[in-house]
């Protein structure tokens, strides 16, 4: 058998096994959308690999499934979510919310707070029985059961034989009546037990008495709301009134919104909030502006340091070049989340090293040591300083590469023509370097524009912007702001709103990419003939 055949059947086997797992579940959970998607993918995959007609697809399909499912589809889905009110209180679908509401129970007023004598009995097998003396028509006796035995077999019966004509309780010989002390000794076990009256009502031991009979209480669980599918309304069984359907994905009973609600399409409301709501728009403007500033300065500073280093070290016959280079790689080689964590320690205002270094400066200027993550300016400076440390090696590497690829003859020709070294740097080296690496600089801009890890791990976005409607801070960039809105849950989970901010991010990234394409084309035209 050929490898390709083995491969094909192995892949098909795993894939179809997965589908067999998924399909019954989607049906059980009535998740039709997932079922449709699964069916389409399954048909496509099986058709591709069972026939010989779609040769290229055989190669592309596996990767394409993941690319479409987890990159393309989420982007579209995010756009869809931005038009919903998906948020805390509106997490569920309407059907799920109704199910949740119908599960809610309450205790009827006339059953609340009634106490009556309750006798705890035991048979030879040490099984517990309750005898509840509610009234003359209801002398209920039955097995006391735990929650897992709540079923009709164990419903209590009216047993008048347990009482003599004088109204005294008679206990049959095969049962033993526990005294108050014995009840106290076994109270933890007894608390778990109930005497079942009917489907919705049960009796529990409420108060153990050492002298007389202990008392019991009714616990009833009536369905709080009933839903009628024909009229699409909810009926409030507690107050006996019909609830109306609100327009925000809620039922409204007696003027009050009922929780949980469900998610509905709210049109452009989230986008309107971005534009109109001052308490949201204000922070968003601060965040957006800072995102651009951060990305720009991040690129500028790392590029500046990287270029300074590569120009300094790009010199023939300079000793130790290799050693320098291998050391400069280190900050780039260490995973970012580690370095950021370490810098969080170094910037600690009380015992961090950065303030130790700066202490002569503080004394000279006679100022207090900086509490780095306390104020807007200092935390932003800290973010940029750390990013410069993390990013300069990359810029050093690419500028070194670009410098070395600039033809020596050009610079020599300039020298012959009498150019100073400064002139030849600014007129020849620098422009050529910029042409070579401008796509990478734009790439670095786009990367830092969404540099979630740095912001989230170093400052978590802080210090907070006071007076904002949402949890947001001065070093938050758009993507970490989105995270605060949707996942962190400081002020509830606002998925719809977060998705609308995601749309903004997508648009900006699209813009950056478009500029990148154009800009690199144009520069090539300008300098391409050199």
């Amino acid at each position: 058998m050929q490898y390709s055949t083995i491969f094909r059947y192995l892949f098909l086997g795993i894939f179809n096994g997965f589908v067999v797992y998924l399909v019954p579940l989607t049906i059980a959970f009535e998740s039709w959308f997932l079922l449709i998607i699964t069916t389409i993918i399954t048909l496509l995959v099986n058709f591709t690999y069972a026939t010989n007609r779609l040769k290229p697809l055989k190669w592309i399909t596996p990767g394409m499934i993941f690319l479409l499912s987890f990159v393309v589809f989420p982007a579209a889905y995010s756009f869809y979510v931005s038009f919903t009110n998906w948020s805390t209180g509106h997490i569920l679908t309407k059907q799920q919310a109704i199910e949740r509401l119908e599960d809610l129970t309450y205790t009827k007023d006339d059953q609340r707070g009634i106490e009556f004598d309750l006798y705890v009995l035991q048979d030879q097998n040490l099984e517990y029985y309750f005898l509840a003396d509610l009234d003359n028509e209801n002398l209920l006796f039955g097995k006391a059961v735990e929650e897992n035995e709540f079923n009709e077999i164990n419903f209590a019966n009216h047993e008048p034989s347990f009482k003599n004509p004088n109204g005294e309780i008679l206990i049959p010989d095969n049962l033993y009546l526990l005294s108050g002390k014995e009840q106290i000794a076994n109270s933890s076990q007894l608390q778990e037990l109930s005497l079942l009256v009917d489907k919705n009502t049960r009796i529990q031991l409420y108060n153990i008495s050492v002298f007389g009979a202990s008392s019991g209480r009714l616990l009833s669980a009536q369905q709080k709301y009933s839903y009628s599918a024909e009229t699409d309304t909810l009926y409030d069984n507690v107050n006996d009134l019909a609830c109306t359907l609100g327009n925000r994905g809620n039922f409204i009973c007696n003027g009050q919104t009922i929780d949980p609600g469900w998610r509905i399409n709210v049109g452009t409301e989230n986008y309107q909030r971005i534009v109109d709501d001052e308490r949201f728009r204000g922070p968003l403007r601060i965040v957006t502006l800072w995102t651009f500033q951060f990305a720009f300065f991040a690129v500028f500073l790392t590029f500046f340091v990287g270029l300074l280093l590569s120009v300094s070290l790009n010199k023939d016959n300079l000793k130790f070049q290799k050693i320098y280079r291998s050391i400069y790689i280190l900050p780039y080689a260490i995973p970012g989340f580690i370095s950021i964590l370490v810098f969080k320690g170094l910037f600690n205002p009380d015992f961090g090293l950065v303030n130790d270094w700066f202490s002569p400066l503080y004394e000279l200027l006679n100022i207090e040591p900086i509490n780095w993550f306390r104020t807007k300016e200092s935390s932003r400076a800290a973010v940029l300083l750390v990013n410069t440390w993390l990013g300069f090696p990359y810029m050093f590497l690419i500028t070194t590469g670009a410098l070395q690829s600039i033809p020596k003859e050009l610079l020599e020709a300039a020298k012959v023509d009498g150019a100073t070294s400064r002139q030849s740097f600014w007129k020849i080296t620098f422009p050529l370097l910029l042409v070579a690496i401008s796509p990478l600089l734009i790439g670095a801009f786009a990367y830092n524009f969404n540099n979630f890890t740095l912001i989230f791990l170093l400052t978590s976005g802080g210090p907070p912007i006071v007076g904002a409607d949402v949890a947001v801070g001065y070093t938050d960039i758009l993507i970490s702001f989105t995270y605060d809105l949707a996942i962190a849950g400081g002020r509830g989970y606002q998925f719809g709103l977060a998705a609308s901010v995601t749309t903004i991010i997508f648009l900006i990234v699209l813009l950056i990419s478009a500029i990148s394409f154009r800009y690199s084309k144009r520069l090539e035209r300008v300098y391409g003939n050199l």
């Binding site: 979510v81 033809p407 998925f495």
Partner: protein, 288 residues
């Protein structure tokens, strides 16, 4: 004369060494600091310094045996997730790249343009949608929903497959087609050409992309953060940052030790592949 010589040397070379040494200090200081601190015998951040007075391995020992801080479990999780996702990533990426590089079919150009467009948007941008998607998938199929490694691996797979296919395709384009044509004449099938000729010759780029993908997933925070809520399932990035953060200053020794263990293999791997990694990242953009 000696002074003149020195000034000359300084103008030519000396200042370069000054700049070089300054940045050597800046680069090394935090790294050395965390390294020595991981062996240092002091309780907290407050008493830390670059060269501690006494040395101990107690911080490393503190990383084992505490069920509340399953550090090596995090490490194992991370290697598992990044290893599987990285491997499948380049495997599926190589398949797709082969079709784009060697087969002629309708929609090839459109497919390539789609790849370029899609790779501009990192998959984590839509993390809200990914979260909600897997939140719902989890109701139906708990095996792949939120809180599972399988779900996370699938998301990582989608995330870099476009980028990888594109770069592998670019590399395959440089392999002369005369080789496969000769094989075809001898009656080789497409899969044989792929398996015996094109894939082995593409190994350099495949290895580098595996390393890049591996390191990328190893260092990811946001997707792991939205997926994993159980401390036993954390990746090392999540574990260190969530569990140790409560008592940052007092846990400093353990943080340093945990950082050294988590960072060293990745740094070694990176330095080993440094030329190819930076070469791969900048391929095509640097021209004379």
């Amino acid at each position: 004369m000696a002074i003149y010589k020195f000034t000359n040397w300084f103008r030519e070379f000396g200042w370069r060494h000054l700049v070089g040494l300054l940045f050597v200090t800046i680069s090394l200081y935090p790294i050395l600091y965390v390294f020595t601190n991981s062996f240092a015998d002091f309780a907290n951040l407050q008493n830390s310094k670059l060269i501690p007075d006494t040395f101990t391995t107690k911080h490393y020992q503190s990383l084992t045996g505490d069920p509340l801080i399953p550090y090596f479990k995090w490490l194992f999780n991370t290697y598992k997730i990044a290893g599987i996702a990285g491997f499948l990533n380049v495997l599926l990426g190589t398949f797709a790249a082969y079709a784009f590089a060697r087969l002629k079919f309708k929609g090839r150009r459109v497919g390539l343009i789609t790849l370029v467009l899609v790779q501009m948007f990192p998959s984590f941008l839509a993390f809200v949608a990914i979260y909600l998607l897997f939140f719902q998938i989890g109701d139906v199929a708990p095996l792949i929903g939120l809180g599972t490694h399988i779900g996370l691996i699938m998301v990582y797979l989608g995330g870099s497959i476009g980028f990888n296919s594109w770069l592998i395709k670019g590399f395959m384009d440089t392999i002369p087609t005369s080789l496969d044509e000769a094989a075809k004449v001898d009656g080789a099938t497409d899969f044989q050409i792929f398996y015996k000729i094109v894939a082995p010759l593409s190994r350099p780029i495949i290895v580098v992309l595996f390393v890049i993908t591996f390191i990328g997933i190893y260092s990811d925070y946001i997707l792991a953060a939205i997926f994993l809520k159980d401390a036993n399932l954390y990746t090392v990035a999540l574990g260190i940052n969530i569990v140790f953060m409560d008592d940052f200053a007092n846990e400093w020794g353990s943080i340093a030790a945990a950082s050294v263990i988590a960072a060293t293999p990745i740094a070694v791997l990176f330095i080993f592949f440094q030329k190819q990694i930076t070469g791969g990242l900048t391929a095509g953009s640097i021209k004379g």
